[in-house]
Amino acid sequence: MSLQSPNDQASRVGEVIGTAISTFQGQCLRLHESPPLGALVRVRAETDLTIYGIVVGAFTDGLDVGARPIPRAADGMEDAEVYHNHPDLALVLRTCFDCLVVGFDDNAGIHQHLPPTPPPIHYSIGMGSSDEVRGFTRTLDYFRMLLGERSLPTEEVLAAHIRCAATARERTVADETAYAFRVRAGREVAALLRDDHQRLITVLQRIRPTAVDERPRARLVGETR
């Protein structure tokens, strides 16, 4: 199955400013508007190649190398007021996010392994739609790639990703409820971390279904548990 859809402006969240075969970095279109941790994003690299990544981190710093943020709150002015009183800040600061490549779609179908080429620099990064998230998460082989990335807080990232993917099922008429997805994802994690009880518990605690997961969505799709 192919998920490829044209890049539309509404889903655009950033632009590729750093790229490698297994990771890429994006700069947000607007300051502080990073896609959430664990979100599935995509880069349409070629007509028939869409590369998928998961947001594994984000940061904000000065646009110029060496520019150092300094405290600016004063006289009761703080938080959003700082930006109101310094409209230039939005143009000299930037928010960036790091993504781990977890697969690609080449029209022949979705592959949950590294693509043949990295995402091109300066290409648009789009948020995966609910349909894309549900399509990509039909199989969860890429969990192994996430858990193998030792330089990241992988349990936190994976749990955040599972919650994001569950949310995609809340918002649409889905063939799988958010609750059911959390259970399936939990089983996948349990299989992968069968030898590491501490890490497994860390993930499971963070993806535990909530009451919100079931009721409305279960009715929506006409399913019962």
């Binding site: 110029d64 009183n85 409209p87 230039d88 939005a90 143009l91």
Partner: protein
């Protein structure tokens, strides 16, 4: 105390005091970590002193020590001269009109007060909303040893709006100069390459023109506006007298006229100003004869008692937000950019320092505009934590980093190649790049 100082410099060179020298970069070799070529070997014990250094810091250290002693020894004498200058400042405060007449009649470059010297204007109320436009420039000089002779001027442009509808726009405008008529000016029948001060002057013109263009862009709100430039409003210099630089001087006058035509109050800002126009006026008032009979100040045979002093020292009574009385630039060249654009200036305490603000005559003669400039400059410096934020942003937009300069040279090479031109560096530049041993 000499020996400890020398020892500390020597120790610094030897050991990297106060912070240790950076660790040598390493790359992974077949047999584990090995130092990159040229880096220190792991067995080296004496640190970066082993590397060839062209600047002998130990010898510089000795000279720095003597410089410190010289400054310490001359401090007392300077303090006495400053007291003298302040006494003249206070004595002349009320007779400012006499001082102004004398300054204007002298024909020398100095300052003519337009109000009592010791006038202090408190900061006007902050404007609830305003728009500030700013520009600053940077340049790449023509290089005789480069691939081809060309110059680049990059102007940073800033529009910042404060109040209910805050807004910011930052941009820059690069311009390449490569035609002979752009790159050379006539001087004494010959042609002189556009570089150093002449290029600076051309850059000043570009900055002023940019401010005028910014003013032309429509604004969606009706808020008072001020244009800020970095430095001075005058570019004419006595040493250009034979340089045929009238053209560039006229261009600046036209750019200033264009800003006046748009009714945009203009101010040029100098941080840590070292100007001494008022000191020069006081020197004249004291009828300084440089140690000869009739000199009313205690000049020595080697120089005037006012030597080395700057106007800034006379304004230590200003409190944060205050501005001094207005002074008018006087001298033969004061109207070179047009009578309306004759430079006027005041000193203003912006919180962390006293800065110099220069305005053209048409702004100086309108109290509402002077108050607006005063208010905006203080607010901008407050927002910028000591320096006007609009000028800081304009500088950031204009600055050409070392990396940009290298990329520019690369682009020049590629452009020449595409045009089918064979070009090369001079042997001197090639030798510098190669650093053959």
């Amino acid at each position: 105390m000499r020996a400890p100082f020398r020892r500390s410099v020597a120790a610094w060179i030897r050991n990297g005091w106060p912070s240790p020298p950076p660790l040598p970069l390493r790359r992974r070799g077949a047999d584990g970590l090995i130092p990159i070529d040229g880096a220190l070997s792991p067995s080296s014990t004496s640190g970066w002193a082993d590397r060839p250094v062209t600047l002998d810091l130990l010898r510089v250290g000795n000279q720095l020590e003597r410089m410190g002693e010289h400054l310490r020894d001359s401090r007392d004498g300077r303090r006495a001269r400053l007291d003298l200058a302040r006494a003249w400042f206070q004595a002349s405060a009320s007779s400012w009109q006499k001082l102004a007449d004398m300054a204007r009649a002298s024909g020398r470059t100095c300052a003519a007060p337009t109000e009592p010297l010791d006038t202090v204007h408190a900061a006007p109320p902050a404007l609830p909303s305003y728009e500030v436009l700013a520009s600053d420039g940077s340049s790449i000089e023509p290089d005789r040893h480069g691939l081809t002779i060309c110059a680049l001027i990059n102007v940073g442009l800033v529009r910042l709006r404060y109040g209910d509808s805050p807004f910011a726009a930052l941009s820059n405008e690069p311009r390449l100069y490569f035609r002979p008529e752009e790159l050379y000016v006539e001087q004494a029948g010959g042609r002189v390459l556009l570089q150093e001060r002449l290029l600076d002057a051309r850059r000043s013109v570009a900055e002023m023109r940019a401010l005028g263009q910014l003013a032309d862009e429509p604004s969606t709100i009706d808020a008072p506006r001020v244009a800020l430039a970095d430095g001075l409003l005058t570019i004419w210099r006595q040493d250009w007298a034979g340089a045929g630089a009238d053209e560039v001087s006229d261009q600046l006058g036209q750019a200033l006229d264009a800003i006046r035509g748009r009714g945009l109050p203009l101010a040029a800002y100098v941080s840590n100003p070292h100007g001494h126009l008022l000191i020069d006026t006081l020197r004249m008032a004291a009828r300084c004869q440089y140690g000869q009979s009739g000199c009313e100040v205690e000049c020595s045979e080697v120089g005037c008692a006012f030597d080395g002093l700057i106007d800034l020292s006379l304004y230590d009574q200003l409190k944060p937000g205050d501005r001094s009385g207005l002074l008018q630039a006087a001298g033969r060249d004061a109207d070179r950019h047009g009578e309306h654009n004759r430079s006027h200036f005041f000193y203003v305490h912006v919180g962390r320092e006293v800065a110099r603000v220069e305005v053209p005559r048409w702004v100086a003669e309108d109290n509402e505009l002077i108050e607006r400039v005063h208010s905006v400059v203080v607010d901008q410096a407050t927002r910028g934590q000591g320096y006007p934020v609009a000028l800081a942003r304009a500088h950031e937009q204009a600055v050409i980093s070392g990396g940009d300069r290298r990329a520019f040279q690369q682009l020049v090479a590629e452009a020449l190649q595409r045009a089918g031109m064979s070009a090369g560096l001079s042997e001197k530049q090639a030798s510098k790049n190669l650093r053959a041993v």
